[in-house]
């Protein structure tokens, strides 16, 4: 078991080190969320509705679209020079590979989500002071569920001719629970309600995340198998 977690850490460490040195994905996603927030300013008619009032939904959609940009490239590096085949010849199990990729994607996407929230707070004066702790918890849970499902499907799309373009078609229908309950919880917290108001929503979000992780651990083997 210990070897298993060493493998998970090795994959996550490798991906994060590559990301730290190239900063390719994080720069693209970061620029994407800032520019999306900028465009929302012009897309929303401020006389009818202030972006602040629908901030929860906008933050979630910006996070998901920006995240999609990075998740689609989860296995991009492995595609080159037979790196994937090399990875498969190591004693590393498919489950460890999956969890390592989920871990590195979650770390990157958590940073991007933090940036998204800060950008919205600055651009649209979204007030975050009410429930910062629970708010961060809900967003982190959402990010984990999203990357758990997204990493699994990214493994699938990496093996198809359509590549990343297929990812939203597979992923979005299944993200309905995440968006529904994630946005609802975020909006409740932003409106200043106490954290125990969202317990029911939080339970479903946790169920979604656990289900996605279990499906990924159980099924990833069939995706990488030759």
């Amino acid at each position: 078991m210990n070897r298993f977690w060493t493998g998970v850490a090795a994959i996550a460490g490798k991906d994060l080190r590559v990301e730290l040195r190239t900063r390719e994905r994080i720069a693209a996603m970061g620029a994407f969320v800032v520019l999306t927030a900028l465009l929302f300013n012009y897309a929303v008619d401020r006389t009818a509705v202030h972006p602040r009032e629908i901030a929860a939904g906008l933050i979630w959609m910006t996070m998901l679209l920006g995240g999609l940009l990075g998740l689609g490239r989860t296995f991009e590096l492995e595609k080159e020079d037979g790196a994937f085949e090399g990875l498969m010849t190591t004693p590393l199990s498919a489950e460890a590979l999956y969890l390592g990729k989920v871990l590195s994607n979650t770390v990157i996407l958590t940073l991007i989500t933090a940036l998204t929230v800060i950008v919205f707070a600055i651009f649209f004066q979204v007030d975050l002071s009410g429930n910062p702790g629970p708010l961060a918890g809900v967003l982190f849970l959402g990010v984990t569920g999203f990357t758990a499902l997204g990493t699994l499907f990214s493994g699938i799309t990496a093996g198809t001719r359509m590549g990343e373009t297929l990812l939203p078609i597979l992923l979005f229908p299944l993200l309905v629970p995440l968006v529904t309950f994630g946005v609802s919880a975020t909006a409740t917290l932003m409106a200043g309600f106490p954290a125990n108001e969202i317990l029911g929503t939080l339970r479903i979000l946790t169920a979604f995340t656990l289900l996605a992780l279990m499906a990924g651990v159980g099924l990833f083997r069939f995706i990488v198998e030759e």
Binding site: G159, L166, I169, L174, V176, P177, I204, F208, A215
Partner: protein
């Protein structure tokens, strides 16, 4: 089961299904009483509800066959999953076209974010994704495994999606047949509905068997072509 038996079973179920389909259309147009509040348009119900039932039944078959395929790796089970998915996609499309036609007259709008309607649309997209994954892989074996994963994850997610879409208030009529205190429906309406359910279930399984037999023949033919090619002198064996 031999292929010949499968095809004859398909013919028998298909003949019976088409016969019953004609019968229930006669019932819908000439026999069943008109519903009091919605009027004549309520007759769409008799094709709408059986379509939805098949759509979800087919998805259940896809999920179970996908899991068994990943477990055993038997191509026959994959053929069954694909056959069910094709049938399911057709009946989901029927629900999605008959629903708005009914809704436009009964509710005055083509589309509402009604839970069951939304769920059916998402189900349709999961089916579409299933086929896109399957058809966009260069390696056929890999495509089958990918599609199976999509089918299983989709089915695992359906209960959660169902809970999410329920979050919004429902315009859709409440269940009239599957109720704890017995069906709340005119007996003639119930007869028509049950005929329609039976008719389309038979039609679905007939299509399912035909598609399954066709897939078996296709893979047998591919194998034959490969053997032929490998026997021809000087020819390279194509890599599957």
């Amino acid at each position: 089961m031999s292929l010949r038996t499968v095809r004859w079973a398909g013919v028998a179920l298909g003949a019976l299904g088409v016969g019953l389909t004609l019968l229930f259309h006669w019932q819908v147009f000439f026999w069943v009483p008109t519903e009091a509040s919605m009027g004549i348009v309520q007759r769409i119900f008799y094709i709408h509800l059986p379509g939805a039932w098949i759509a979800f039944l087919a998805f259940g078959i896809v999920a179970i066959c996908s899991a068994v395929y990943l477990w055993l790796g038997d191509d026959k089970v994959d053929h069954a999953a694909r056959a069910a998915a094709e049938g399911g996609l057709i009946f989901t499309t029927i629900v999605l076209t008959s629903g708005p036609l009914w809704g436009k007259i009964a509710w005055g709008t083509w589309w509402t974010w009604e839970p069951r309607l939304t769920l059916t649309l998402l189900l349709w997209f999961i089916y579409v994704g299933y086929f896109m994954v399957r058809n966009s892989t260069d390696n056929a074996e890999r495509g089958k495994r990918f599609a199976a994963v999509v089918g299983i994850v989709g089915a695992l997610n359906i209960p959660l999606i169902h809970m999410s879409v329920q979050w919004f208030r429902s315009l859709h009529p409440q269940p009239v047949v599957a109720r704890p205190d017995g069906p709340n429906l005119h007996p003639d309406m119930l007869t028509t509905l049950l005929t329609a359910l039976l008719a389309w279930t038979l039609v679905f399984f007939s299509l399912f068997l035909f598609r399954y037999a066709a897939a078996r023949l296709e893979s047998a033919e591919e194998l034959r072509a490969l053997t032929r090619a490998s026997k021809a002198p000087g020819d390279e064996v194509p890599v599957p």
